[in-house]
């Protein structure tokens, strides 16, 4: 890691290396935190453009933090604190011909309940939970990404699961 200190973000290759390393994480982070309706892809682009403009001022090892902070602020500005309904894109389901229409309906209802419950989670809980359960990231990776301890990540994920369970049971 010591050679990182000599890396200049203004160099095209270094800049693109940063993009390859962090753009997906940044995108997923924004997506799970704020939902699909606020164009996380665009915000990622804007954050990187801002990094390029400020490349001389941002040291390589601070670039990730810079990107996450800029993107998060950008999102907050666009949301301007209004509570937007979270919308997630659903993966197309493989419909097995063997399942009964009743089961399909029940499955769809459960999906809707879960979407609602996910929107009720705190942003911190949701991001940690989704990055772990859906993106398959390890606790340590998430801890680095969010700049928190692994213990805190564990707590958030478990808290999210418990809350989801509680919400869904209440709904049933």
């Amino acid at each position: 890691m010591s050679d990182n200190s000599s890396k200049n973000v203004c160099h095209e290759s270094v800049y693109e290396q940063l993009f390859r390393a962090h753009s997906k994480d940044l995108h997923d982070f924004l997506y799970y935190k704020y939902g699909a309706s606020n164009n996380p892809g665009d915000v990622v682009q804007e954050a990187f453009i801002k990094l390029w403009k400020n490349c001389a001022k941002v040291p390589f090892e601070k670039a990730r933090g810079f990107l996450f902070t800029v993107a998060n602020n950008k999102m907050l500005n666009e949301l301007s604190k209004q509570k937007t309904a979270l919308k997630f894109q659903k993966e197309p389901q493989k419909i097995s011909t063997s399942v009964t229409p009743e089961f399909q309906l029940e499955e769809k209802q459960f999906e809707e309940k879960l979407e609602w419950a996910l929107a009720q989670l705190s942003e911190a809980q949701r991001v940690a939970f989704m990055l772990n359960r859906v993106e398959g990231k390890k606790h340590k990776e998430i801890a680095e990404l969010l700049d928190i301890s692994t213990k805190a990540v564990e707590k958030r994920i478990y808290g999210a699961l418990a809350k989801l369970k509680q919400l869904i049971q209440e709904k049933i």
Partner: protein
């Protein structure tokens, strides 16, 4: 709390098969598994790093241009607003020529910006600059008007036949074809014509008719008679009387076998056409005949 530990291990992926068996005995575990499985359907859409990077490269190359436009455009907007405002200022205020015109049979009282009053007789036009009126009290007159001038800078009435200048007074200016008459009712008026300059005190009049000048004095009236609906004439060619009648009543008068240069002294009212016609025809032994609503024929009795 053992349950929580096991669940954390399950979430962590570090759970042993034995521990998992233990966890499965919990009736809630099925729901948790289902939540876990269903949540995967809410996966973020695939983020294609390479195509996003290509997009970013493109944006970065056009970025400087965008930045430039972002201040040039508002600047242009601001400049455009200024252009419109300046143009508006010049058309509305700078060259503010005001024109007031009366038609036949009309009279109009007009108050100028300095509270001077102008009463326009029929078929009269005046133009003046509203801007800087207090400093430059000059107006153009074509026709006949009575002026009651407020005290202040020199007040000038420019006509094609002469200029009348005053300081603060009441006077009447009449300018018709080959006829220019100024009557001063109060104060002092200076009249400048191509041939002479003279000062007219109250009660005096000046007349330029067919290039002949004339003065009278001893006028007692406070206002011209036309302001009391009466047109008065003092040794005026008959044609002037006829034209004034046309203006006051909106008539066309046909003249047959009449000497239009006969001098006429007298007056006619503006309120009664029959009486008016009689007052200007009988003294000269002229007969008149009404042809229609707006035409009258005058002829000399043979």
């Amino acid at each position: 709390m053992k349950q929580e530990l096991l669940l954390k291990k399950w979430l962590d992926g570090s759970i042993s098969s034995e521990e998992l068996k233990q966890l499965s005995s919990d009736p809630d575990f099925e729901l948790l598994q289902r939540i876990d499985q269903t949540a995967k359907r809410f996966k973020a859409p695939d983020f294609d790093v390479e195509s996003a990077l290509a997009e970013l490269r493109e944006k970065r190359t056009v970025a400087p241009k965008v930045i430039q436009m972002s201040w040039v455009q508002p600047l242009l907007k601001v400049a455009a607003i200024f252009v419109v405002m300046i143009a508006g200022y010049f058309t509305l205020f700078y060259n503010s020529t005001t024109t007031v015109e009366t038609l036949a049979t009309e009279q109009e009282l007009l108050t100028l910006p300095d509270a001077s009053e102008v009463t326009l007789n029929s078929e009269t036009t005046i133009t003046y600059q509203k801007k800087n009126w207090e400093e430059n009290r000059t107006l153009n007159l074509d026709g006949e008007a009575f002026f009651k001038v407020a005290k202040g800078a020199t007040f000038s009435v420019e006509t094609t036949q002469g200029i009348v200048q005053v300081l603060g007074t009441q006077f009447n200016v009449k300018t018709r074809e080959q006829y220019f008459e100024v009557i001063c009712y109060e104060g002092l008026v200076r009249v400048t014509t191509p041939t002479s300059t003279l000062e007219l005190p109250a009660g005096h009049s000046y007349r330029l008719m067919n290039d002949l000048e004339g003065n009278t004095s001893g006028i007692q009236a406070e206002r011209p008679s036309w302001m009391q609906d009466l047109s008065s004439f003092q040794s005026v060619p008959y044609i002037q009387v006829v034209q004034e009648m046309e203006r006051q009543y909106g008539l066309t008068i046909r003249l047959e076998n009449i000497d239009i240069n006969t001098l006429f002294t007298g007056s006619f009212t503006h309120n009664d056409l029959d009486v008016a016609l009689k007052s200007i025809t009988l003294p000269l032994n002229i007969t008149y005949q009404t042809i229609d609503d707006s035409t009258v024929a005058f002829s000399t009795a043979k």
